[in-house]
Symmetry: none
DNA sequence: CATGAATGAGTTTTCATTCAT
DNA sequence: TATGAATGAAAACTCATTCAT
């Protein structure tokens, strides 16, 4: 229901394969169950047998596919962060007007959240204290890409002359806020809401 | 060092007492240790004996002051959410210009985060799956207050005509983003950065 | 490389067949892998899937040839204890001078250890808590044979008049000690060392 | 029943204390239970909850005193190897006649085995694959001491001119054999048997 | 009051054995 | 016949909670 389809495109440096993770249906069921539970209860709040039960496999089976719970969560994170990165950054037109690019990025983020709400919650609602270096680098690479976009826009006088990280994290944070608002029942993330919030953020950073 | 001093003010409906939690130095040490550990490792990632050690008390002592770990974290949450609420909302002048009020709110939020970074991280970096009804209501009351402020501003044509929850959660989320940006080493939250980000958010919501 | 060739000789009561154990190459590979692993890590320290991997067969295959791990180790023990017995006792000349017989036994033991170091380690370095009655009897039969030899020598005034078991176990134990000394790097078991140690033991028991 | 009394004497370099192992009755009960079970079933054949049950403590209690099963077995080994070393080597008269010294050593070894049969079985009946460097060094230090004794005797023409390690390991191995003979019901280790076997070994090495 | 040693239920992980292919 | 993926029972280990002191 909520598994990455790996529509790899080359916008950002990518590791072409999925580095040793079996794509068997069991492995996939385990990853799916983990995603749902980690999104809901967090990593430390989720017991491995619970994952097994939800995945419909024996507890031991998880360890046939993943060395440990920590390796599992890192693979899950890498998969989804990669999907997120690709969904967000693939084929961003280098020479399009900043306004168009921004709209594209915002809509893609919203699409990702709508299509993969558990993945979005898993990625954004928690402090990932267990991330390995690869995943830290992967996450930073996304910010780096966005920082490049912003810096070029700043050079053209489009974006405010503040540290790009400020704008990036504020915008990403604002979107997390939107999703939380919906969770809190304060908002429905309709197409209209996405459009309005996009305009709000554009106003913010220009 | 980082404990709420309960400078109660009447801006928001408050429960006058602290609901049965002793204010003994031991209880305080336990709450302080919990805050530091929950902020760093999360609720499920923190063992009670570790709290005891950091608090300099016996493990059993924790259970003299708090029925259970879950009760403890709810009390901790309530205390800090209350401090946050009071720090943010106390004596907000009802008739001041929206721009001034917004600046005040932004600066108060920044002050709170600077003075109590652990409390801020505890409150905002995690999904609080264990919150009791009281704490849920307390959290919502803050949003309700802000929603009133926004709605009045909207009525005067100052703020965008979108669901107030959208603006509130986006602004709060943007500030969380700023703090994360600092954690990620992408930003220093200087006075200038606070001023700039405030302006950005003001532009966003108007 | 290290598998018993079943050169059955009739020195000691032998069960003529190999009691239901197939002699297929797979069964042999499993026995060889088991021997290497049990010698190195002990019975309880060796996982069945590891045996399978080392044998180059599937884990399930082991159970086609052996009912259980315990049955496997008993078969392995029987095979090697039998080889040991045959290598030690086959065609011992009944009427040769005790000194010659002793030298022959000592050299045969050394030959066995040199040719099958893993088998020797498996047989002698561990407490075999899992042995079935057949294997216990098999092991005792070797001691019984040696006891007969010693008793005859005692009757001729060649060996010390002490319980034969004392001499047998001391000599066998001394040889185990020699092998351990080599493992510990305190000794090289050269032909000369074998000769010297033989003389030492001969002196001991006469 | 079978716990080291630490009658420290200074014959061999010793670490004066017991390096961080609590001497509480619980820790002692755990060590005693471990000794009995490891002696009977080996390290890998003994489950921690079984140790707990035999010790009359909860399973978790073991981990209050010992970091892990491996640390536990190393501490147990160190304790008993130290007791063995002290029992064997304390105050060995440097200038006594070799024969007297040998008798003393032999009797001390027999005394240790008689007084602490489980400890002797634990120390000598198994391959200790888990030993840390400290314990390896400790074990070697005993052999080194004995090697010095033998080398001096060889210089005086008392002992055979073979590598001292050969004599040491043969004698120690012979004694292990005696104990196994008794286990096998082939022998009773009476005072007379000890005396006779001592003479046998003396004959062997001279 | 305060403790911290003790615990057993629960955690992560392993492994002998099975069974669908 | 051979497999190796799958498993659940049991292993090692952790931790929220209790209770004797």
């Amino acid at each position: 229901m909520d598994s990455p389809q790996s529509k790899h495109t080359a916008a950002v440096s990518g590791n072409g394969d999925d580095s040793g993770v079996s794509d068997s249906p069991k492995a996939q069921a385990i990853l799916d169950a983990s995603l749902a539970l980690f999104a809901e209860k967090g990593y430390d709040g989720t017991a491995v047998p619970l994952i097994a039960e939800k995945a419909g496999v024996g507890a031991g089976t998880i360890y046939r596919y993943f060395e440990s719970k920590e390796v599992l969560v890192n693979i899950l994170y890498r998969r989804w962060r990669t999907v997120f990165r690709d969904a967000l950054l693939a084929d961003v037109p280098a020479d399009a007007p900043p306004r168009e690019v921004f709209t594209m990025l915002w809509n893609r983020m919203a699409d990702f959240q709508r299509e993969h709400p558990q993945a979005y919650a898993f990625l954004e609602f928690y402090n990932h204290t267990y991330l390995n270096e690869e995943n830290i680098a992967l996450t930073e690479s996304i910010v780096d890409f966005l920082a490049g976009f912003l810096r070029r826009g700043q050079d053209h006088g489009v974006f405010r002359k503040v540290p790009p990280g400020m704008l990036i994290f504020m915008v990403l944070g604002a979107f997390v806020g939107l999703v939380r608002a919906e969770s809190a029942g304060r908002l429905e993330l309709t197409a209209e809401a996405i459009r309005e919030s996009e305009e709000i953020c554009w106003r913010a950073i220009t």
